[in-house]
Subunit: 303 residues, 2 copies
């Protein structure tokens, strides 16, 4: 009964108009697991360097997050340095040091190979495919995140892994580049032809649109007074969205709509502080209250 | 019992990735009135040149649109030439010929001065203010659209007219420039301090967000298979939104939410064809059907 995530666990240097943090905890698997583990047990497959000590691991303590698949090797952990301007919608990457991630080959511990649900975070599609091939039981669903770098540079591998995937999570620009279609409705049909039957389009401050065989759904982002640091919002969304779906054991449109609200609310906490600071500390009551405010906000009485 | 609109009636030359139209009917008051008049009688105050003949006027026939305030003067009508790339979110202006619009001073016919509702389309705020000053009875509400050009170049006049306004309709970039605040929640408080108690933020393909003293609402755009020409989408939205509010004679949150859906659906028709071609021809059934599909799409069952 677990949701397996393969991705990065990293250190980030972050600068936003509101301040800076150096050597802050980051990485797609980090944000994903902190968010998803509120709804369903999570297993992480990732690699860190020996600069990653007990202090960094403490954040995963007392949560249903299994770290058997987190291998620690000699060297420095993956490191990203980025800066945001006032509009906060786009990060400017100042440095990406792969470090120990450069030689990462995900190896699933024995117990991981029958995980019920699988999320392939945004890493080389060759590695994503290796993970899928190591599963001894086909997961109930496989979800995947990717980015323009792989869409342009590793298309054959990406197409190979997409043919195994049920849910694709990307942003507007990525799905348009992947399908070469500006219309999201047409892009969705092309995505379906590649494999995924559900397309989740992340739109940052504009929310999320979901395309399913039974119809389309779109929700705005949860409105915030202040956004401090957008880093990790997408992976936190994915964690809430997929963690909720795993918990519900359902994938009908109602469950997908609710999962969208859950993911959006989780992401709204992440961006209120630097790094994982806010995400680490939210209570279940805070999640519940914000979900209820959000539902009220987007509810429309019958016309 | 009328909704008065002051704006432009114009000719557009349009190029999109899907084709071109020359000398097509355009202008904010045109799109607004064709959209609003489905819900409430409209009166237009605008100016056209003598190149504007019965053929162009025919589009307003058989609709509750009063043209007594449309003055015709010697010269050419306002002319805009624009081009859209594949992303369709931003128009590239190739030419703006004010022509007879350069000397436009709106003069309200006697019967117009007691109009119940007033929409000030995106024109020089000095002229918008002149219109407000000609009203002998304070309208039940005044709504206003503006753009960066006036925010930068005519701020004192804009602030003067804003102090008389109830509803401000702008896009993201405009409200951020007006208030110098990136957070829309904070920007809304600054807008309230300037006068308007309701802020409508138009976000193109990402929909609309509404800020009211009773809370926030946001809705996605109605999803379309194909967008042919985004020209007029904002004014068509404003027409549906404000026409519906005038018809309902209410401005509570429920009415504002419904008005948002109505405006979005009207705009979705406009962008499906060039110029006003689609907007001219939609049936009430088509509007009703799309509203019902849209309501279903964004409806979320209680969590």
């Amino acid at each position: 009964m677990s949701l397996l995530v393969v991705g990065s666990v990293a250190f980030d240097d972050l600068t936003t108009p509101f301040g800076r943090r150096e050597h802050a905890l980051g990485g797609s698997a980090t944000y994903f697991s902190l968010s998803a583990s509120r709804f369903h047990p999570v297993r992480i497959v990732a690699v860190v360097g020996d600069d990653f000590g007990p202090e960094q691991l403490r954040v995963f303590d007392h949560r249903p997050i299994d770290l058997k698949g987190l291998s620690k090797v000699k060297g420095l952990s993956f490191h990203w340095k980025g800066e945001y301007g006032y509009d906060l919608n786009e990060a400017k990457t100042l440095a990406t040091d792969l470090n120990v991630f450069a030689d990462f080959r995900p190896v699933l511990p024995a117990g991981y190979k029958e995980s019920e649900y699988l999320f392939l975070g945004n890493i080389d599609p060759v590695l994503q495919l290796e993970v899928v091939r190591q599963m001894t039981t086909r997961p109930k669903w496989i979800a995947l995140d990717t980015m323009n770098y792989w869409i342009r540079g590793a298309r054959p591998a990406l197409e190979a892994v997409l043919s195994e995937v049920d849910i694709l999570l990307v942003n507007d620009a990525e799905v348009r580049e992947l399908t070469q279609d500006n219309s999201l409705i047409k892009a969705y049909r092309k995505v379906q032809a590649m494999g995924p039957r559900i397309l989740v389009v992340k739109r940052g401050e504009y929310g999320v649109a979901i395309f399913t065989p039974e119809g389309i759904f779109a929700a705005p982002a949860y409105p915030l007074e202040d956004v401090f640091d957008p880093t990790g919002a997408g992976d936190t969304f994915a964690g809430g969205f997929l963690g909720y779906l795993a918990w519900m054991e359902r994938m009908d449109v109602t469950a997908l709509k609710h999962a969208t609200l859950v993911g959006s609310v989780m992401a709204s906490f992440t961006v209120e502080q630097f790094s994982t600071e806010r995400l680490e500390q939210i209570s279940q009551d805070e999640v519940r209250n914000r979900l209820s405010l959000f539902s009220d906000m987007i509810r429309v009485e019958d016309l």
